[in-house]
């Protein structure tokens, strides 16, 4: 083995230029893959974070039937054990209680259907950004007042102004028609059409009283320190949640999940093609470098070196070149990604406005996720080794005489 490594190492140095070019090609591919992938993953994270942060949160705990049939009868009373578990989990930054209910909002002539969300303003500020999306007016602070925030389109449709009073009507948990008079303190603009046209934020205690919910909620919404801890935390939460279901953002926002899945496909397609080209480059380089040395290899075989040792030398060369290239590629890729993480690519002009209009952030960010570097490296190494197979098969079939005589 020692001998093989020595030969391989020296062979690489013997033809510095060719080795350097091969390394450069692989490094470039790794760098391109890592930075493209980083941009994708980073932008996904950004979009997930942005979309998830507005309303749904990363994880919600719900009554097991609420997802299929969202009605107040599928609300639950979070027990102390669950709350204290959530409070002690190191990956959970904050959580909030929520009630979602359908209702009517009415001002004199105009009545519209409304999506009522009962919130604890102080907790909600730590969990989601919906209260940061105040367009006009101001947020209410206490969960037990008759102040509300409404979507900015809803305000227009109701033909009322901030400060005006409106009536909300909704069917309570006991089937009774809860109704009360509320004062609009401000409007929200999230970019999500549904929310802007139908969303109403109410203090949770007021809503619980109006809908005869006592301490029941329809969801506990949880904010994580890092989206990458999603699966860990959701698995950890399951036993504490008991019969209640633990839903992740993918369940809560399937359109976003699907949109990302679609974009991911084209990203992976790109990487496939990039690696295909690099693989071809590697095959050709190794093939040429093997063929070029057929005379030399022929002599080696003639003096009694077994074929497999020659093949191992070529494989060792490939591995050494690839590993060196991986180091360079990953360092470069990391540097690029690190730069983009610190200085996200900002869109400007029409596209930026359009993005903002629909609630997306007009920027692209990168990622430094370790698994991405590892995956890319492993794939590259495998591709390199696969690429070495064909040249090595040719080498394995080489007869000593043919090698010596090869021109």
């Amino acid at each position: 083995m020692n001998l093989i490594m020595k030969l391989a190492w020296r062979n690489i140095w013997r033809n510095k230029r060719r080795s350097a070019l091969t390394m450069a090609a692989i490094s470039f591919a790794v760098m391109a893959a890592v930075s493209m992938r980083g941009l994708q993953i980073g932008t996904y994270e950004l979009n997930i974070d942005n979309s998830v942060s507005i309303y749904s949160g990363y994880i919600q705990i719900q009554h097991p039937d609420y997802y299929a049939s969202p009605s107040l009868s599928h609300s639950f009373n979070p027990d102390k054990k669950l709350i204290s578990y959530i409070n002690t989990n190191p990956h959970i930054i904050a959580f909030s209680r929520r009630i979602n209910a359908d209702g009517l909002i009415s001002s004199g002539e105009n009545t519209f259907g409304a999506m009522l969300t009962g919130i604890q303003p102080d907790a909600e500020l730590k969990v989601t950004t919906m209260l940061d999306k105040v367009n006009d007016g101001e947020i209410f602070i206490r969960p037990d007042t008759y102040d509300i925030l409404v979507g900015y389109k809803l305000l227009q449709n109701l033909k009322v102004r901030i400060g005006d009073e409106i009536i909300i009507l909704a069917q309570g948990l006991d089937g009774s028609m809860g109704n009360d008079r509320f004062r609009i303190t401000g409007t929200i603009k999230t970019g999500a059409e549904e929310f802007d046209a139908y969303g109403v934020l109410v203090g949770i205690e007021t809503l619980q009283e109006m809908l005869y919910m006592h301490n029941r909620v329809t969801a506990l919404t949880i904010r994580l320190d890092d989206v990458n801890n999603l699966n860990i935390v959701s698995d950890e939460l399951k036993p504490a949640a008991g019969l209640n279901s633990v839903l992740t953002w993918g369940n809560l926002m399937p359109e976003l999940r699907d949109a990302i899945a679609l974009d991911n496909i084209s990203g992976i397609l790109f990487l496939l093609i990039l690696f295909l080209i690099v693989a071809f480059g590697i095959i050709n380089t190794i093939l040429m470098s093997v063929i070029e040395r057929f005379n030399e290899f022929g002599v080696n075989l003639a003096i009694g070196m077994p074929h497999y040792k020659l093949v191992l030398v070529v494989f060792a060369e490939t591995v050494l070149i690839t590993i060196t290239a991986l180091a360079f590629g990953n360092i470069l890729g990391f540097a690029i990604n690190y730069y983009i993480v610190l200085n996200p690519i900002q869109f400007s002009g029409d596209i930026a406005n359009l993005y903002l209009e629909y609630g997306f952030l007009p920027e692209m960010r990168s990622s430094l996720q370790i698994s991405m570097f590892i995956q890319t490296s492993v794939i590259t190494l495998i591709i390199s080794l696969l690429s070495a197979i064909y040249p090595c098969v040719k080498l394995y079939k080489l007869e000593p005489l043919k090698g010596i005589r090869y021109t």
């Binding site: 090609a25 679609l262 397609l269 093609i273 380089t285 629909y358």
Partner: protein, 408 residues
């Protein structure tokens, strides 16, 4: 020495060492095939999304009464007496126009009910504008018979209603009064979008107009033009023709996010092509370099017999150019041979992602190659091949003839 001789020499050199040429050629062919297939799939995917949306009813241009987009009320109708349809049909480039009565309503069966968008259409005109009639999986599309309704599979399941079953449709008229009427399911459609299948139903416009007391008024004019690129210019033409009482919007206005995504992915194709190009250059430099080194002796002889360094340089680049051109052509032919059947049959990606269906793409992707990419490939690939040969060529002309001849 004439130029022809140089070409002749280059050509013979290429053929003399078939293996070496084949290696370079294969790199280029793979590069060409990869670039074009990538473009084909990405375009196919995005165009399909757009095309599907347009076909599902967005159409190329829509006309509404001013204010309709902000408040989709039944009372924001276009008066039938205006004969807008006839005027628009006369415009050059317009292929088909359909008048649609659109309202939000409730459908109910004995078991369940749902809020839906009801489209009242003239089945003959609508068939030329939207593809719903082609998506019927069971029963038939509207035929003009009374009280027919076409609903999506998902909705039918929710209502627990099948072909021939009746559903009750309820909606309010322009004055706000609620009307209900009975319809019978004549057809079930299934589009790529489960969201669409859940929330859109189609009836004959006469029935809906009668139910809502609309006379011959309607809400939406959907227009299909000969070429999507004509939409923008026709929009301004129509706008000046119909005046400010009406909103004229193209699919680009109606589907901004989708259009933006397509534009963005087209932009990013340049970056992608560039990266692929650079990856290709590395491969080509390597192989070219090795072939130059292999031939040092031969070059030494050429120089010894009086070949100038300039000519040698040109010779190497010329060889690269010839291989680059042939590789591009062979690559295009091979890609074409693969691409053309697939552009008819499509490639089934359902094994790859279930998400495709729900995203409005459909599981089967029909690759669409843009002529820009083909053109770019034809121009760029031979240039990349030549670029890859520059460094090796410089190496070659720096050789001392005597040292080169001795080299083995």
């Amino acid at each position: 020495m004439t130029k022809n001789l140089l070409i002749n020499l280059a050509w013979r050199n290429i053929w003399r060492n078939k293996r070496r040429s084949a290696v370079v050629l294969s790199s280029i062919i793979v590069g060409v095939a990869a670039t074009i297939s990538m473009d084909g799939l990405t375009n196919g995917m995005t165009y399909q999304m757009l095309f599907n949306q347009i076909n599902l009813g967005t159409s190329h241009i829509q006309i509404h009464k001013t204010g309709y987009t902000d408040n989709r009320l039944v009372k924001n109708f276009i008066q039938g007496e205006l004969q807008l349809k006839a005027d628009i049909l006369r415009l050059p480039g317009v292929k088909a126009v359909s008048e649609r009565v659109v309202t939000f309503g409730l459908v109910s069966s004995a078991e369940s009910s749902a809020g839906i968008y009801v489209y009242g259409v003239d089945h003959k005109a609508e068939k030329r504008v939207s593809a719903i009639s082609g998506l019927i999986k069971e029963g038939n599309y509207l035929s003009g018979a009374e009280r027919e309704v076409v609903v999506g599979y998902e909705l039918a399941n929710k209502l627990n209603a099948g072909l021939g079953n009746k559903i009750i449709l309820m909606a309010n008229d322009p004055s706000g009064k609620i009307h209900s009427d009975v319809f019978r399911i004549s057809g079930l459609f299934e589009s790529f979008s489960s969201g669409f299948d859940k929330s859109y139903i189609f009836v004959n416009s006469d029935d809906l107009q009668n139910m809502l007391g609309l006379g011959n008024s309607y809400h939406e004019l959907a227009i299909i033009v000969a070429e999507p690129s004509l939409a923008e210019s026709l929009k301004s033409e129509i706008r000046s023709a119909v005046g400010s009482d009406f909103e004229v919007k193209t699919y680009r206005d109606i589907l901004p996010i989708l259009v933006m995504q397509i534009d963005l992915s087209r932009e990013s194709m340049w970056i992608v092509n560039m990266i692929i190009g650079i990856a290709l250059v590395f491969g080509i430099i390597n192989v070219m370099l090795m072939t130059v080194i292999e031939r040092i002796r031969e070059f030494g002889v050429l120089m010894a017999i009086g070949f100038s360094t300039g000519k040698l340089f040109s010779l190497i680049l010329l060889e690269a150019l010839i291989i680059g051109l042939s590789g591009t052509i062979i690559g295009l032919v091979i890609t074409g041979l693969i691409h053309i059947p697939f552009s008819y049959t499509g490639i089934d990606f359902s094994w790859f992602s279930e998400g495709l269906v729900s995203l409005g793409v459909g599981a089967v992707i029909y690759p669409v190659v843009s002529y820009q990419t083909v053109l770019l490939t034809i121009i760029m690939t031979p240039m990349i091949a030549v670029a890859g040969a520059i460094y090796p060529a410089i190496k070659a002309i720096r050789l001392q003839p005597v040292a080169a001849i001795r080299h083995y």
